[in-house]
């Protein structure tokens, strides 16, 4: 499948380009985290079934990697317009109203992600201050995995804001590359 991100045009400001490259970088990081979890899970199976050893850190690590990949990947998938949506109502509306609806939904999304970023930061901070550890043998400091919450939602918000700007400025080309939902 083709790279479906917002095409960069000369009219884009440097700021928007910067946000897009941050989102793309997040995509690479997220992909690498997912691939790392494939390798670590295979290593775990190797240790357990072939070497008959015991595994301590693997299960926990891959779960953290998966959560991290999801949160860090949010902005990249938004950049690709890969979050599945149903645009039944906009299709029924006249063009002008459609734009306002789009702006409204962007504002609501940004509001709710701000809530998650803000409280996510507090949650992370609490884990950091109080030195929370996972209740396993390994006992990972929980601020490490929790960091993905404010970071992921914060970066997601950044990408959403540039998309909102594109809609308001009338430069939104999302209609041409909206990805329809995946079938699974």
């Amino acid at each position: 499948m083709q790279e479906q991100g917002a095409a960069s045009s000369p009219s884009q400001t440097g700021l928007i380009r910067a946000v897009h490259s941050i989102s793309k970088t997040c995509g690479v990081i997220s992909a690498l985290m997912i691939f790392a979890s494939v390798l670590i899970t295979c290593q775990m199976i190797w240790v357990r079934f072939v070497l008959n050893g015991s595994t301590i850190w693997q299960t926990e690590t891959v779960v953290y990697l998966m959560i991290g990949a999801t949160l860090i990947g949010l902005s990249y998938v938004q950049y690709l317009r890969g979050h599945v949506n149903v645009d039944l109502l906009p299709m029924l509306l006249p063009e002008k109203l459609r734009k306002w609806l789009q702006v409204l939904m962007f504002l609501l999304t940004i509001a709710v992600t701000s809530v998650l970023t803000y409280h996510g930061f507090e949650y992370w901070h609490m884990a950091f201050e109080r030195g929370w550890k996972s209740d396993t043998v390994w006992g990972v400091p929980l601020w490490i995995p929790y960091l993905a919450i404010p970071l992921g939602f914060g970066l997601f918000q950044l990408q959403l804001m540039t998309d909102l700007y594109a809609v308001i400025a009338g430069k939104d080309d999302s209609a041409s590359h909206t990805l329809k939902g995946e079938g699974c």
């Binding site: 997220s30 779960v63 959560i67 990947g73 789009q102 998650l116 919450i149």
Partner: protein
């Protein structure tokens, strides 16, 4: 406010928000946050990150990205075309051989890739032009592939089943087995209709361009289809042998599929590898985001006592379980028309499961019925994804013809639901046989 009336209000706003073009996951978060603010105050919002994180903090979920990597590495190779060629060469003497081999290829590819649109695209790209060339009607050519592709979410391994398993806390291995026989049943129904419809429209004059293949040609294609098939069978075997959990076996399967794509299909350039990884990442993140958001959504429902009120209300209705099941089917069908399967399952399964169990139905049987309803949604407007995939790969067939061609297959699926309701053993038999009765 009465929780049941509140439930109606939640349903109304959820539909409104989800239809307004916002992504499904964000829509669920918006609705949840809105209702929590109004009824529980701003203080309740501080729980959201913890709820979201907690929902994803589950090793079983890892099987989702793993199976997606398996599917997307298979889809990025020419395995679909190979599979199609192999079946076509072997089944050429069967009446309606081409459409039968197309549907067979869909079923097998569906098993390997676990994705409906990928199946449609992989088999349809070869199959549709070939069927039209040999005189099959356009409706059959387009409809059979659209319908065959939907098997991806029923035939194991299926990401949709994993999501059901996780959200209802049922055994994923057992769910996979439960989908096998109904998947074959659907395939058989699709085949029967295709042969009949071809005969009806094109008449018997058409041996429909039968081609003869030599044994050398028949044998030559086999080695190319075996590696991926072998991996899938190996993964399922390890799963049922109780050797490892779905996440673990899927991770090994994912690594092997990537290796086969690199070694046998020679996808060792950086761009193709990145394409596999990028597509898997996009899809995994999208699904896991919905799962996290659905976790927040179901917390909101139960903290406002909506879930409990609905279950109580339906439990208090004096109707026969089958009338109830009829209504549930209708609800799922309508939801499936508009929403992607994963979203429907995540929102509906936790609410419906206690009702289903209360009415004496089997949760594994229900998973299959639910999935077939979701399959119908994939080939019906307005969001029937497979219709658009077919439209994309065969642009000269009008969307209307694709739609008309797909409708009879919707009939086949409804028929399958009826057959499975009359003979639930078709669903539960295989898992009970291989894994012992469900606890």
């Amino acid at each position: 406010m009465d929780p049941l009336a509140l439930g109606g209000l939640v349903a109304f706003f959820t539909v409104l928000v989800l239809f307004s073009g916002v992504s499904v996951a964000c829509g669920l978060l918006i609705v949840s946050a809105g209702f929590l603010i109004v009824f529980d105050g701003f203080g309740s919002l501080e729980l959201l990150p913890e709820l979201f994180y907690g929902k994803l903090d589950n090793f079983a979920l890892l099987s989702i990205p793993m199976f997606i990597i398996m599917g997307s590495s298979i889809s990025s190779t020419r395995a679909g075309a190979d599979l199609y060629e192999a079946l076509e060469r072997w089944l050429t003497r069967v009446p309606g051989g081409l459409v039968v081999s197309n549907l067979g290829a869909c079923a097998l590819f569906a098993a390997m890739s676990g994705s409906s649109p990928a199946t449609c695209a992989a088999i349809g790209k070869m199959g549709i032009p070939e069927m039209r060339k040999r005189g099959y009607p356009d409706t059959v050519a387009a409809g059979s592939i659209a319908a065959g592709g939907t098997l991806g979410i029923l035939i194991p391994p299926s990401v949709t089943m994993i999501v059901y398993g996780i959200s209802t806390e049922t055994s994923i291995g057992r769910l996979f087995l439960a989908g096998a026989v109904p998947g074959l049943l659907l395939m058989a129904l699709f085949m029967a209709w295709s042969i009949y419809d071809t005969w009806r429209q094109a008449g018997s004059a058409s041996a429909l361009g039968r081609v003869n293949y030599s044994w050398a040609e028949k044998l030559e294609v086999l080695p190319r289809v075996l590696p991926f098939l072998g991996i899938i069978i190996g993964v399922l075997y390890a799963l049922y042998g109780g050797v490892a959990t779905p996440s673990e076996t899927a991770a090994v399967g994912a690594l092997l599929c990537v290796l086969v794509a690199v070694i046998i299909y020679k996808l060792y350039d950086f761009a193709s590898l990145w394409a596999i990884l990028r597509d898997s990442t996009r899809e995994s993140v999208m699904i896991l985001f919905i799962i996290g958001a659905a976790g927040v959504f179901s917390y909101m429902l139960s903290s406002l006592f909506v879930t409990q009120a609905i279950a109580e209300w339906i439990g208090g209705l004096d109707v026969s379980p089958w009338v109830l099941m009829g209504f549930i089917n209708l609800f799922l069908l309508v939801a499936g028309f508009f929403l992607p399967p994963v979203a429907v399952i995540l929102m509906a399964a936790p609410i419906l499961l206690p009702i289903i169990l209360g009415a004496g139905f089997d949760p594994y049987w229900f998973a299959v019925i639910l999935t077939i309803n979701m399959e119908i949604g994939l080939i019906t407007p307005p969001v029937g994804l497979n219709l658009y995939v077919i439209n994309g790969i065969a642009p000269d067939i009008p969307l209307k013809t694709i739609l008309l061609g797909s409708l009879p297959y919707v009939g086949c699926m409804v028929l399958a639901i009826i057959i499975l309701s009359v003979f639930p053993g078709l669903v539960t038999g295989l898992p009970n046989l291989l894994m012992g009765p469900a606890l």
